[in-house]
Symmetry: C2
Subunit: 226 residues, 2 copies
């Protein structure tokens, strides 16, 4: 069991987030990679509001941070890549295989995620704003174009390259940000790819462990406390 | 001189782009990294419309692609990291220094660039749209928050960590997407940081070489041909 309170590796995570974010907070990427690599880790939970000094660890006030006593970093892409360097299961050792995987990690985070998070923000945070109503069709079209690009590349392959890598791990967590829509379903090979990633036992454990934290820290309805 | 038609390293670039994009197209990142590393390279230019088969090299129809005969990749972040692995000038060799640099590369591309490109798109592509007018103040505030986060981290340091790395190289190219605004000027340490990066001779050569291509391929005004 990778979750281990005495592990050398520590990641940060939120103690609770609203429903829409449960199961997609970025510590999921680190948890999933650690599960795939079979590395024990412990979690340092952050409540709300975060302590101001957290900005000295993570300047953007996000999770996860990673610390194994040797390397202390933030940014889920960098963390997943660092974990990948310890495990050939996640990152091939030959230069071409290695950098194809790293390339897809960057592609997921820079060429796909921004369009998807833009739509998610419109649908969750700004849905009652006039601009969001006017903008949504164009923002959705842009997401569809990005999905088409990934779908066309994927074709009938199982993974983005010839085996599962950190590139797939990150891409699958990016596609999960669309779970409030049926956009991925419009690309059957992409929907199957997403399902294939989510079916991995390491993903299932990572997801269950993230959700367990939120269940344990569910705020009481007002008035329920005494 | 890194630009060399017989070089083993090839990158792709656009033969021409409109004024607003000249000097910020992403092949600049690869050119700059190659200049810092002192590696010769040649450029394969792509006209408009791009040939459909280019999508098999670059699924998102962007530049640059990189090919040195051993590794063939796309995504400027991955390319800059690959070049960094050949040159300690760009990427420290110790684990902590190396991954702090990689972390900032991801941070520039995932935690900062999306907010900035969102504003750039509002100002360039959508400026006459009603939603863009309504959205702009909020989009600008979000950019300011991101700039504040980077500025607070930077403090009075010269670079994001204790020396220049690929993380600074990419962050500086991200900040350049705001050159149509005075937002960076609002953070004097960030403005000085940007200036410090742009003053590097390797940056100056990379920029001049990108701009020279566009000058050489400037479309003739209609009617001037024939």
């Amino acid at each position: 069991m990778p979750l281990n309170p005495n592990a050398a590796i520590e990641i940060t995570a939120f103690s609770w987030v609203p429903q829409f974010a449960q199961g997609v907070v970025r510590d999921l990427r680190a948890r999933w990679a650690l599960e795939e690599a079979g590395l024990d880790y412990r979690v340092r939970l952050l409540g709300q509001p975060r302590p101001t000094e957290y900005l000295r660890e993570q300047p953007f006030d996000q999770v996860p941070c990673f610390n194994d006593g040797k390397v202390r970093i933030f940014e889920s892409g960098a963390i997943v890549q660092y974990i990948g360097e310890t495990s050939e299961e996640l990152l091939p050792r030959d230069s071409q295989g290695r950098f194809r995987a790293i390339q897809w990690t960057y592609a997921a985070l820079n060429s796909v995620e921004p369009a998807i998070l833009n739509l998610l923000q419109i649908d969750i945070f700004f849905r009652n704003e006039e601009w969001a109503k006017l903008r949504r069709p164009g923002a959705e079209d842009f997401v569809k174009l990005k999905l088409k690009r990934v779908s066309d590349w994927l074709g009938d392959k199982e993974w983005l390259e010839d085996r599962f890598t950190i590139g797939d791990l990150v891409m699958i967590t990016v596609l999960r940000f669309l779970r409030h829509t049926d956009l991925v379903t419009g690309f059957p090979n992409l929907a199957a790819y997403l399902k294939r990633g989510e079916a991995r036992p390491a993903f299932q454990r990572a997801l269950a462990d993230q959700l367990a934290v939120f269940a344990a820290n569910q705020p009481q309805p007002e008035g329920a406390a005494a």
